[in-house]
């Protein structure tokens, strides 16, 4: 009843997509490095940067196609929806995040420089999926309901949207810190990015793919100074510790923890390097808000659908099972973020920190609750 050939193909395609994403991530980061910042703060790719940028986009798009084929053949192999265990859920979450990144962040908003980070997040999620690999198989009875199509898919979709939102939030905090410090050092008054989306208009909204061919870049010291005002030590160390401790706590796998921590440290270092090329803090804040505001109703729907399913399966709509509790506090943290964003004195950095906490809560709800804490959702691992 499980088509082994298709299942095998799905796994192969998963690995191909995984490697393609890694290549795309590297290409995106190269594209980042081939960027100049001109006098008015407009970032422009060099000719080489543009070529490598096209390569990165092509790789990411190819990865999405291969990945989609992997997910589809997994579903066909098992004869059910392809999100019945944590491996499949992680895989689909990564796929949605990259697809959302390509369509929304790169195409719609034009922030191609963020894509490296989004693809990197997807790669980490897929790596976690490899740790949780489960052979294609039928669903256990508790999961065998049409609600898995509704509840689990919406939870997965909103998680991937929140992932993109987290990338924007974290980069906003980095960029905002840099902008503030540069402004403080140059003695200029600074009132910019705390206003958030309200101030995003006008000249800085130039397309990013603009090519500066004459080579006469007029770099502005203050823009590159954004890198100098940030400590290059903190950037790799904090992600190293956070990712390492989290992976170790959840999986108890030292090697995986070391790899995750190293990758996270590398990402931290890249974000430090990328500071001058990132879109202005106010725009990153706007992107983060719009992404989270898009994901929040979907997450709300997922929680409601989960309650209805729990009523069908277990005879109570809400029992404070660890997973229910986790989805609840994730919801409350994201709700707090949305409230904070419209509260004077909270918008900007403080709101962004709430969004960071909310994303950590989401990760705890997804990984730690499933793998660490015994509850009614434990069978999903």
């Amino acid at each position: 009843m499980v088509n082994q050939q298709l299942a095998q193909n799905s796994t192969t395609l998963f690995h191909v997509a995984f490697l393609t994403y890694i290549a795309a991530m590297v290409a995106y980061f190269f594209r980042l490095a081939y960027t100049r910042v001109s006098a008015d703060g407009v970032t422009a790719s060099t000719a080489a940067g543009r070529r490598v940028g096209h390569l990165a986009t092509a790789l990411a798009a190819a990865g999405v196609l291969v990945h989609a084929a992997s997910v589809a053949s997994r579903g066909l192999a098992a004869g059910r929806v392809p999100w019945g265990n944590m491996y499949e859920y992680s895989s689909l979450m990564a796929l949605c995040a990259v697809a959302a990144g390509l369509v929304v962040v790169q195409r719609r908003f034009g922030y191609g420089h963020l894509m490296g980070f989004i693809v990197a997040a997807a790669v980490l999620v897929m790596a976690s999926g490899l740790l949780l690999f489960t052979p294609a198989g039928p669903l256990v009875p508790a999961l065998n309901s049409y609600w898995i199509k509704i509840h689990t898919s919406s939870a997965m979709l909103s998680s991937s949207i929140f992932m993109v939102g987290f990338a924007a939030t974290a980069l906003y905090l980095v960029k905002d810190t840099a902008e503030r410090r540069v402004a403080e050092r140059s003695g200029a008054g600074y009132g910019g990015s705390t206003v958030g989306a309200a101030s995003v208009t006008g000249a800085e909204a130039r397309p990013e793919g603009y090519v500066d061919d004459d080579g006469q870049e007029t770099t502005v010291a203050s823009v590159y100074a954004q890198r100098d005002v940030l400590s290059p030590v903190l950037f790799p160390v904090v992600p190293f510790v956070v990712a390492g401790v989290f992976t170790l706590a959840v999986w108890r796998a030292p090697l995986a923890a070391l790899i995750a921590a190293t990758v996270a440290a590398g990402l931290g270092l890249v974000s430090w390097y990328a500071v001058p090329y990132l879109p202005p803090a106010a725009k990153l804040d706007n992107l983060a808000y719009r992404t989270i505001a898009f994901g929040f109703p979907i997450w709300t729907f997922a929680v409601i659908a989960g309650a209805i399913w729990a009523e069908e399966a277990w005879g109570r709509y809400w029992g404070w099972d660890p997973k229910e509790t986790g989805s609840f506090f994730t919801w409350v943290f994201y709700a707090s973020y949305l409230h904070a964003r419209s509260t004077r004195g909270w918008r900007g950095r403080r709101a962004a920190w709430i969004a960071v906490v909310a994303f950590v809560a989401l990760m705890v709800t997804y990984y730690a609750v499933n793998l660490w804490i015994v509850g009614l959702h434990s069978y999903i691992q």
Partner: protein, 544 residues
């Protein structure tokens, strides 16, 4: 007071000098200050944080209503951070966060704060809903404006503008009602941003009401039954009447009385568990008959995700296990016990206990009990050692029966499994295969696994308020979408006669998401130009 009286130079008539004590607010002032503070968004944020933090704690600290056994281990110090830390956790009520008084207080405060925030917003929304769009003034000074020349007369030009702005809430203003002295069309949209937010927040009162009603008037009970097809003649529990006393465990709501039970009879005819090839369970199916007044009224299946609803009570498939029929006889062929015993899962085994003989120890009568361990798929490995096979199905069931004798405390009304084992088992355990009797106590007793069947456990619930909860959940979503994704915009079109035709000044402001309004306004202006038949060169204005 002491400060001023301690100063000798301050005469009785002189005004008090030096630092004065702050005025002590009266009780009403304190109340109103507290009310004002509760209404602040930062207070609401702090309360939300506290709520989330409490739930985070409740995720990592086991909760007594959910997993009481783990909590007991934490308290004893055999699991978790140790007995000392557990004592502190216990004192803080962290083993039952969601039932603790401080969590209730937090929720109550949040709702009070919500009420405080909502009342003025309701009022403002009602006022704004009644008030039609206001006239605009100084249109050229707004962030977005544009002048369009047309050959149409002013009233026709405004008719056209109304068509273009059909998705806005509109109001025609005669020339006499505007500051500029020209007729205007005032339009606005995005009112449901605030309206949706109000619906969203109001829905939480309904959620609370639904939850409280469900808790107060609802009922939850658990009952385990053995299969009637095998055990109907053994006097075993194959059916139960839906009454309070029949349940193995029951959690009635405060206002769910004994008379609220339905009294219908549920019989478990058959239980079936099937597995996939890879030994993952495929389905658990309980076939039941519901009878009323002695007559069967319906047959049905209860499966995971497919409860059976009868007379407002929902029956869910909750648990299952093996039910071996144990027959114990004495050497003299006196039947001591012949009944199915419900075994519960314990790792790869199924374990349970049976009372065999309940004598009065004070009169020297013996008490006998059996501890049973069932291995559904016993196998021999290559070297002939018995091992536990991988299958959860009873492919080769083998059961160990261990006899306890003496004063086992069975005269107390305790479940069979809770007899006193301190005396230790008597003799080696008997190994039983279906239908093959085995000796115990050196042949004084024979024990037989006569038949292997299943028992099935049901959760029975009555949950009023579910409809209300569903409605509230829908309102949460319905309100959330516009509150996040609808944006307020105000647009005016003013018709100024010029020569034979009219100059229509279109102007607008965005109250949120101003970045995208530039595009929206350009599209509006282009559409209006087209509809007015204006030459494309007639564009003038500032679209910043």
């Amino acid at each position: 007071m002491t400060q001023t009286s301690a100063r000798p130079e301050a005469g009785p008539g002189a005004p008090p000098r030096g630092p004065r004590l702050p005025a002590i607010p009266g009780p009403l002032e304190t109340l109103s200050a507290a009310w004002r503070r509760l209404r602040r968004m930062s207070t609401a944020l702090a309360l939300l944080f506290a709520l989330a933090a409490a739930s985070v704690v409740a995720t990592f600290v086991p909760q007594e209503p959910a997993i009481a056994s783990t909590v007991a281990q934490w308290r004893a110090g055999s699991a978790g951070p140790g007995a000392g830390v557990s004592g502190v956790l216990d004192a803080l009520g962290l083993f039952d966060v969601f039932g603790s008084w401080w969590f209730m207080a937090l929720t109550a405060l949040l709702f009070v704060s919500l009420t405080g925030c909502l009342i003025p917003r309701y009022r403002a929304f009602a006022r704004a809903a009644r008030r039609p769009p206001a006239a605009g003034r100084n249109l050229e000074q707004l962030t977005h404006h544009r002048a369009i020349r047309t050959a149409l007369a002013p009233p026709q030009a405004l008719d056209t503008a109304e068509r273009v702005l059909r998705r806005y809430r509109r109001r025609r203003l005669p020339a006499s009602a505007t500051a500029s002295g020209h007729a205007q069309l005032a339009a606005e949209r995005g009112r449901w941003r605030e309206g949706g937010s109000l619906v969203f927040h109001t829905a939480f009162y309904l959620l609370l009401a639904g939850a409280v009603i469900g808790k107060a008037f609802g009922f939850t009970g658990q009952i385990n039954l053995v299969e009637a097809k095998r055990f109907a003649d053994d006097g075993a529990v194959v059916s139960f009447a839906e009454t309070f006393l029949a349940y193995d465990a029951a959690q009635p709501g405060r206002f769910f009385g004994l008379d609220d039970h339905r009294g219908f009879l549920v019989t478990l005819e058959d239980f079936d568990v099937s597995y996939h090839d890879n030994l993952v369970p495929r389905d658990f199916v309980s076939t039941v008959t519901v009878s009323e007044d002695g007559r069967p009224v319906r047959n049905g299946e209860i499966r995971v995700n497919h409860p059976l609803v009868h007379d407002g009570m929902k029956l869910y498939q909750a648990r299952f296990g093996f039910a071996p029929r144990i027959v114990v006889r004495t050497r003299e062929e006196v039947l001591l016990v012949d009944e199915p015993v419900m075994l519960g899962p314990a790792g790869p085994f199924w374990t349970g206990s049976a009372k065999v003989l309940v004598g009065d120890p004070d009169r020297g009568e013996p008490q006998l009990a059996l501890d049973l361990v069932l291995v559904p798929d016993a196998q021999l490995d290559a070297s002939g050692q018995p091992v536990i096979g991988p299958s959860p199905e009873p492919r080769n069931p083998v059961m160990l029966a261990e006899l306890y004798a003496g004063d086992l405390g069975l005269q107390r009304p305790v479940p069979a499994s809770e007899f006193d084992r301190s005396g230790g088992p008597v003799g080696p355990p008997a190994m039983l295969r279906p239908g093959v009797p085995a000796d115990l106590l050196g042949g004084a007793l024979t024990v037989e696994l006569a038949e292997l069947g299943y028992w099935s456990g049901f959760q029975v619930t009555h949950a009023p308020g579910r409809g209300l909860l569903l409605a509230a959940a829908i309102l949460v979503l319905v309100g959330l979408l516009p509150s996040l994704h609808s944006y307020r915009r105000r647009v005016w079109a003013e018709a100024r006669p010029e020569g034979d035709g009219t100059v229509v000044v279109l102007a607008g402001v965005a109250l949120q998401r101003k970045a995208t309004f530039t595009d929206e306004f350009r599209r509006l202006g282009d559409a209006l130009s087209r509809e007015l038949g204006a030459p494309s060169t007639s564009y003038e204005g500032n679209e910043r």
